[in-house]
Symmetry: C2
Subunit: 101 residues, 2 copies
């Protein structure tokens, strides 16, 4: 059972958030692509195994789906669980209005 609670925990780690950012920018990347771009673009220094384990967490949370094809495994983003978070705590009445972008 991939509870919604897993999505919250998945977002707790900055590396996993970077992975989501990276998949937002370029969906369907392989593990090696992700590691490479996380290092070069996002300035992280994570090993392949570390990223792989983060992807396990993201998959369990339903935020990432894996698609195996030959010896490659492509990773696809799914932001559906995040919409639930947005709906859960509505904006306060007469609260601070969000700045236009």
């Amino acid at each position: 059972m991939t509870g919604v609670a897993d999505a919250y925990k998945a977002l707790a780690d900055p590396t996993r958030r970077a992975i989501l950012d990276e998949l937002t920018e370029r969906d369907g990347q392989t593990l090696f692509e992700l590691v490479t771009r996380l290092v070069t673009v996002h300035g992280l220094s994570s090993s392949r195994q570390a990223i792989s384990q983060h992807l396990d967490v993201l998959e369990a949370a339903g935020l990432v789906h894996r698609r195996r094809e030959g010896r490659y495994t492509f990773h696809h983003l799914d932001t559906a669980p995040l919409a639930e978070i947005a709906r859960r705590w509505p904006s306060p009445p007469g609260g601070s209005p969000d700045p236009p972008e």
Copy 2:
């Protein structure tokens, strides 16, 4: 500086999410009120100190503001940091309808 990263970590704990739920339903509660209602309404069994520490985390994340008045400390919800989360990863095509928790 209350980094945005703290908000993500703050949401990782189910008890803290219950606190946010409780403050959404009834804003400005004291510590004892929160403990009582979390036990009776939400079925949790958390001590006063535990809830107090959770409130520390939520305050550091900017999700809760404290207002001292006499011997009472009222807690107020601030969902502004959550809007940032919603904007970060936009929703893809027709989102699947998620069943509530």
